[in-house]
């Protein structure tokens, strides 16, 4: 092939069985300029797009996802190396450039799953939440997708194919049948003739071969690296201070910028008076960004001090009168009106819930609310940009570098090729860094000072008040019970449906269900927040099922267990968590135990919370977590994700609240947006159930949803008080 176009790439790499990029060899004379950079030396051979064998027989895996703490820079190489039978001690990784040839969407959608691209990629990050529908190629890190998507369909297949290519080359060279050659620790062996050679011996010959059409993947009993505890590649640099995050970018002659945007979303700048700022030491420029203002100076501190002196007037509108209270009033009215007018939007229907409820002796009803939440990543949003030589170069931590590249090109009128993205470590993502606002701002500031690199760093206050929040949601339930106390009808109405679509559904066998929703938009920006719609809906549904168990006078674990006879996988997860927690065993005076179960991103998680209420305030003492992701490819990595997800869920349940007053966000920093700290952190135990490796679930998000309801159910168990509005610290 000549130029490695996407078409050629697919033709060369597509596999009948759903594999990808296998057999795409980059040979001298056939390199595309963009990929040439990955082949550093003449001696190197790129066997396929995901793996390089270096002259010293070491292996370098190219990972097309951002590292934000989820461990993907290690988990994906593990999957590839295991299938390849590589020597793990010689495996290293490099992050793929933000280039179409590494687009995860192309991989997922057009190569691996032409007809069934996982909805999460399309919908969560591209559909509702991101305005990047125009971007035809993505390299997204989100939706708990990296391992189960890129890992399963990219890394494992590529690793297996690379091994088969090498074996085929060796078979030719040694003149022996393929099946007499085995691979182990980056060597090929022909035991009969007692021959062995390192992979690199056959790399060139392998690269010249047509890829196998269906490389054979290992079964779990053959795994040597997958599923094991492996130390992460990124950790050493994160303990000695040398890891480079976006905020650490340092370019010669670089200036610093601080920004402040309109506190009310939708407002724009009507007047700017930067005259005092411009007189201050070190100030280079005051820039009107349209939605806000930026100051560029020699140092960060100069920029920050000068920004404080800029007088900005913003346009005002209806949104200036909005508060959290008026939003919930609006939600209530929208929901009432939808029912009164019969224009509910159906989400899920089974049987005839309304009919059963109408004739029921008793209908149990409850209304739940969750507030807006900020992401509050540890690293505030930042972006370094440099407009030079007809190029726009960006350094930032991005969950969606390709989408951002396309969007920058479109919005700022560059050709895509002129926009260069350098993606670095993300100091927390949680969905926030899938958004495009801060790179666009950074680019605009740099374009105001052509030829000079500009590093824009948001203050914590800006980060808190210019987020894309988890939306505030109201959810109402009605249910009736049969003679045995089990639910026979379940009706659920909520405001604003986003993604993933299945978030409000329950795992339990209830014959009559009607789940519906009503749009009730507000001016608040919203975006994906760790587990997206699952966090709010798991709180709603797992609280209400607990209410039904209480109404029936049945133990909440037993109640759930009995409703799961059709789903033995979920039942086992529930049972495991209960066993870990010694469910039902008497607790100390003032302690309570609560349980919750939720499936998200194809991983089923049950959590039991032990809460100590003896002081009147909740202290979460222990969390027992059982999780079935199909197969946890990285044992410790998956465990860490569960621990992290639980902490995140508890933070939001206990303290998380973004309030709106006069249209603007009230909270500004960690003193009023409280998060879990060491002294409030529970002991967490995680048990993984590997039920089957062919349908993997995600790791980054599924630990979060059950934490809040498990906590409030535990508080109910000991105090009798049902918490229907979060955070607990406010409504207990």
């Amino acid at each position: 092939m000549g130029k490695w176009t996407r078409r050629a790439f697919l033709t060369t790499g597509a596999l009948v069985g759903g594999g990808l990029i296998v057999g795409v060899a980059i040979r001298p004379g056939h390199r595309t300029p963009k990929l040439a950079g990955l082949v550093e030396n003449e001696g190197e051979t790129l066997v396929n797009a995901w793996v390089k064998i270096l002259p010293d027989n070491s292996i370098k895996v190219i990972v097309p996802h951002a590292e934000m703490g989820q461990g993907v820079h290690t988990a994906l190489p593990m999957m590839l190396a295991d299938e390849m039978d590589a020597d793990w001690s010689t495996v290293s990784m490099e992050q793929a450039p933000a280039d179409d040839q590494y687009a995860s969407r192309d991989v997922v959608r057009e190569v691996a799953f032409p007809s069934q691209a996982p909805g999460i990629v399309e919908d969560t990050l591209n559909g509702v939440f991101l305005k990047i529908a125009q971007s035809m190629s993505l390299q997204i890190t989100g939706g708990s997708f990296s391992v189960r998507g890129t890992g399963t369909w990219g890394m494992r297949v590529a690793g297996a194919a690379a091994r088969e290519l090498l074996i085929a080359a060796a078979a030719e060279e040694w003149q022996v049948p393929l099946d007499q050659i085995r691979a182990e620790n980056s060597y090929l062996f022909h035991d009969k003739s007692n021959r062995s050679e390192p992979f690199i011996t056959f790399a060139k010959a392998a690269a010249g071969k047509q890829g196998p059409t269906q490389p054979k993947l290992k079964t779990p009993d053959q795994f040597k690296i997958m599923g094991k505890r492996v130390e992460r590649f990124d950790i050493p640099a994160k303990v000695d201070g040398s890891a480079v995050f976006g905020v650490d970018i340092d370019l010669p002659g670089m200036k610093y910028a601080c920004v402040k945007c309109a506190p009310v979303f939708g407002s724009t700048v009507s007047a700017v008076d930067g005259s005092s700022a411009e007189k201050m030491a070190g100030v280079v420029k005051v820039v009107n960004l349209g939605t806000g203002v930026g100051v560029i100076a020699d140092t960060y501190w100069q920029a920050k001090k000068a920004l404080d002196t800029v007088n900005v007037t913003y346009t005002k509108g209806e949104s200036n009168r909005v508060s959290s209270a008026t939003m919930f009033e609006q939600f209530g009215k929208s929901m009432d009106a939808a029912v009164a007018n019969g224009d509910e939007q159906d989400d899920y229907k089974l049987g005839s819930a309304r009919k059963v409820l109408a004739s029921a002796d008793k209908v149990i009803e409850a209304e739940y609310r969750v507030p807006h939440l900020a992401h509050a990543t540890m690293e505030p949003m930042n972006c370094t940009a440099w407009a030079h030589d007809d190029k726009l170069e960006i350094w930032s931590g991005l969950q969606n570098p390709l989408g951002i590249r396309n969007l920058l090109a479109e919005e700022l009128e560059f050709d895509r090729e002129q926009v260069v993205i350098n993606n670095v470590y993300l100091g927390g993502g949680f969905g926030r860094r899938a958004m495009d606002d801060y790179p666009v701002q950074g680019a605009k500031l740099a374009l105001a000072l052509p030829g000079v690199p500009v590093k824009m760093i948001w203050s914590r206050e800006e980060d808190m008040q210019q987020d894309f929040y988890r939306p505030a949601v109201m959810s109402r339930f009605k249910a009736s019970l049969n003679a045995n106390g089990m639910p026979e009808a379940w009706e659920n109405q909520f405001v604003d449906k986003h993604e993933p679509v299945e978030a409000p559904t329950i795992p339990y066998a209830v014959e009559n269900q009607y789940i519906h929703y009503t749009d009730s938009p507000t001016h608040m920006r919203f975006g994906p927040w760790r587990s997206v719609d699952h966090t709010q809906h798991a709180f709603f549904t797992e609280s209400f099922i607990d209410e039904l168990a209480a109404e029936a006078g049945i133990d909440p674990y037993t109640y759930r267990y009995d409703l799961l006879s059709h789903d033995l996988r979920a039942r086992k997860v529930l049972e495991t968590a209960a066993k870990m927690a010694d469910w039902g065993k008497p607790l100390a005076e003032g302690w309570g135990q609560g349980i919750a179960l939720h499936r998200s991103f194809n991983t089923i998680v049950a959590e039991v919370v032990n809460v100590d209420m003896s002081s009147g305030k909740p202290r979460v003492a222990q969390v027992y977590c059982a999780a079935d992701p199909g197969y946890a490819m990285s044992l410790d990595g998956f465990t860490a994700q569960m621990e992290s997800g639980i902490s995140c869920g508890l933070t939001s349940a206990l303290y998380g609240e973004v309030n709106v007053k006069d249209g603007a966000v009230v909270e500004s920093n960690f003193h009023d947006y409280k998060v879990l700290r060491m002294n409030q952190s529970p002991q967490i135990q995680v048990e993984i159930i590997n039920s089957g490796d062919r349908s993997l679930g995600g790791g980054g998000e599924p630990g979060t949803p059950p934490a809040a309801p498990a906590l409030t159910n535990a508080i109910f168990a000991v105090t009798g008080k049902r918490i229907r509005q979060l955070p607990v610290s406010k409504y207990l």
Partner: protein, 181 residues
Amino acid sequence: MLEITVNGISRQLDVEPDTPLLWVVRDELKLKGTKFGCGMAQCGACTVHLDGVPIRSCVTPISSLAGRSITTIEGIGEAQGSLHVVQQAWIEEQVPQCGYCQSGQIMSAVALLEKTPQPTDEDIDKAMAGNICRCGMYGRIRKAIHSASAKLPEEIILTPLIDQAADDAVKPTNAEGSYNG
């Protein structure tokens, strides 16, 4: 011109006197391991040692530090190129996720172990409550502190601390204390 010692090296600085130590360390001295998180001593990402005591560099004006000695994450290794026992424990327990808060966590942990070589869980709660980890790796941090404590060489355990009373301007800010009620 102002002189401070950073990681054992004397530095002459010409910066605006109200500039927080954080930005001097990061942007003038190019030691990027110390992180900006909140700017108001709430998160601990910017923790460094002032004469051995943990402080929040984001609220410490450089003018208050003339003649004082600062240690950052880059300066705590036992010897050139080797990791502090706390850093080693951080790797063994696979503590960091995103990693952004970890320089600050490690600086707080090192200071704790210097003062209290065998800390209880309560000691850890108290000393580490000022350091937020949004990835929620508190359990691993606790475990790593205990395991580092067990590995501390005896001579370090027995070394008395030099007690240099910090003046008011540079008093450790929220390095210890309770949060969120």
